[in-house]
Amino acid sequence: MAIKELTKGKDANQLARQSPFGRPPYGGGYESSKDYKTGELVMLSEGLYRIKQAETISTIFHIGIQGTLTASATGSITIDMTQNNRRATELNTVAKVFPAGIQVLLGEQGFNNTNQIITNRANATSSTAGLLTITTDDTVRTALYPVGTECTILFIPKNETHAKQFLLDKTTMSALESPSSDTVIYELLWGLSQHPKYIGEDGEITSSGLNNATEATISSTNYGAQMGGTPIGSGGVRSGGEEAGDTSKVITGSGHGASGYGTSMVKYAGMISPSVRVYQPESVVRFSSDREKNTDATISIAGGQLNKSGFLDASDTSALSPNPSYRLLTGSNGNDGTLPFFETLQATEEDLHDPHIVIIGNKFTLVEVSTEEVKQMVRRSGRFNYKIIQDPTQAYKDLSDGVTGPRNGWKEAVEATKGRRMSFDDYKKLTDNVTSQTMNLLYGTSTQQVAKRSGIDPRQRHRGN
């Protein structure tokens, strides 16, 4: 019998752990809306294509604090958490506590490179210079992860107050962009992990954390018999004291809000997450209102907002059920540049353990539809139907109001139309600010039609005619 030799998978300690809190127990399931299916025709900015194959893909992108190693030894590492965006001064001025048990992912996320996961052995406090030293029982592979290595701390410490919220640098996973522009496309739905939020035993609603270390002391008599059946607050762990008539016993470790929160934690808590802003391409804010793009405020008051638009949290799109309104398309542009970047804002006033983005989507392979095939379809049925795949670099980058000038300014427009007479219709088309897909849709896709309106047919370089 032939034995098929299989490639060994990555070691578990090279893979970041799964969600620390799992999926919420009662939530509805993921519902994928497959907008594009095998065999369908799709219009890209580069022309008409047919979907050859489609397959589902999934991944997780960890959005904890990114840093670089400034020291690397077998039992400890030091991480420089300095962010370059100047909106994370909190990390460089306030000592933050990183609890035992949190993990650090060494190496870049994505691609087929090697990673190592190390676990923090003891509570660690960062310096006010933004340096954090983690000790670990794992053996750090210092040769693979020397000083200068990129790493991700799977934890974001709380901001002290609302006015001290902080913004982490934009990060990305370069593997999110498909390997071949305009012949392999990724359609990605993404959702944020949910983190349980508690209210403290004393009624405190900020910085309650996951555990309340205070003890509930019972000094009265005659509680023991009841304790057997009715735990205090349903959340405590008793250390002795079951006997009736016993006195002065202590109920310790009253966790999770202590008074009644243990029975069904999610029943009593909301699920929070950091806020995330998406850029695609790197300099263009997505999912933001027209007037709020690139207008971040300085947070100085308790109720202030960095920006009222563009930040999404788990209420907008959750890992449990990614919201299709915020889908991302990569690889749909002939010039690439469709890689999304994620910017994380910590404004919850709670420690966040392993915040991450779950990405579920589809990849498509495409084949270009020739002019001959289009003619044949028209001959057979008089018309043909197609769907549109938006080109993120065209569809979303506009900062223009469509009144004052063309999409990329007059210089580019004048150069593109040099030597040709411009009618009023030409002027309107230039200032209308629409994508080439819409132009294809309205004014045709034949070589002559495209050449007439733009001077250059971008498909020529593919078709060689």
């Binding site: 949910q194 909301g270 907002q305």
Partner: protein, 256 residues
Amino acid sequence: MARVNFGRTPTVRGYNPLANTLKPGHVIQMRGEFYVVDAVEGLTVDLVVTAGGNTAGTEISDNYDSGYFEDADLEPYRNHLYCLIPSLTGQPKFITRSGTYDGVGFPDDTAEVTLSGALKSIGAASRTMVGLISPRVYLKHPAGIPRWHLDEAPENDKTGFIDVTVSPHEDPNPNFAIWIESGENQLPQFRMVNTTGEAIYNPVIHLQGFKARLKHLNKRDIDEARKANGGKFVYKIIKPQGLPHAGSMSADYDPN
């Protein structure tokens, strides 16, 4: 106190049902004109209610009334159209361990319960969460026109509001979606009123939906599209202004 978001409930799917309302290539008719949808993108806006004395944007007390306000940043570019669903986050509501529930906020349960009698349970020594509350939000859109009201009660404020029961942040109710066109008089005017009996720590109106970029179609474009489609011309009708309004004159009379 700061503004505190208590998060979403984990028990609903929570997806945006507007995702496929408009797609690139769709044709819409709006105010008698035709437009082709050029591009569509998800959109989210959080309006922290800072009107009516809540200038810091922190918590709002019971009986707070913001009055109607508008946010100029909600105006889209000339060639853009917003479709947004207003929604509210829920705030946990408790009954205290003594059984009271009005204005209890987040009770301090650290005080020791003295058990003076035999067989008395201490299991009840905790507050109990009973639900989620939020302020009410009223809307006038376009400016000055009350929405979501009964015809014969346009401005008596007994009708025409949403709260977390009607449209929660994690699962916004698409029936209350509004279309926002360019132009100052197309801006929605919101009003937040807190009649919950509690202070509310996250007085934010969340707006979720999408924006679409439109290209106006002239008669020649329409004729060509009709010709290319075998004489058919398929489009959706969008009425940004909602139903004709009965008029607000009668609301001026208030015997109180």
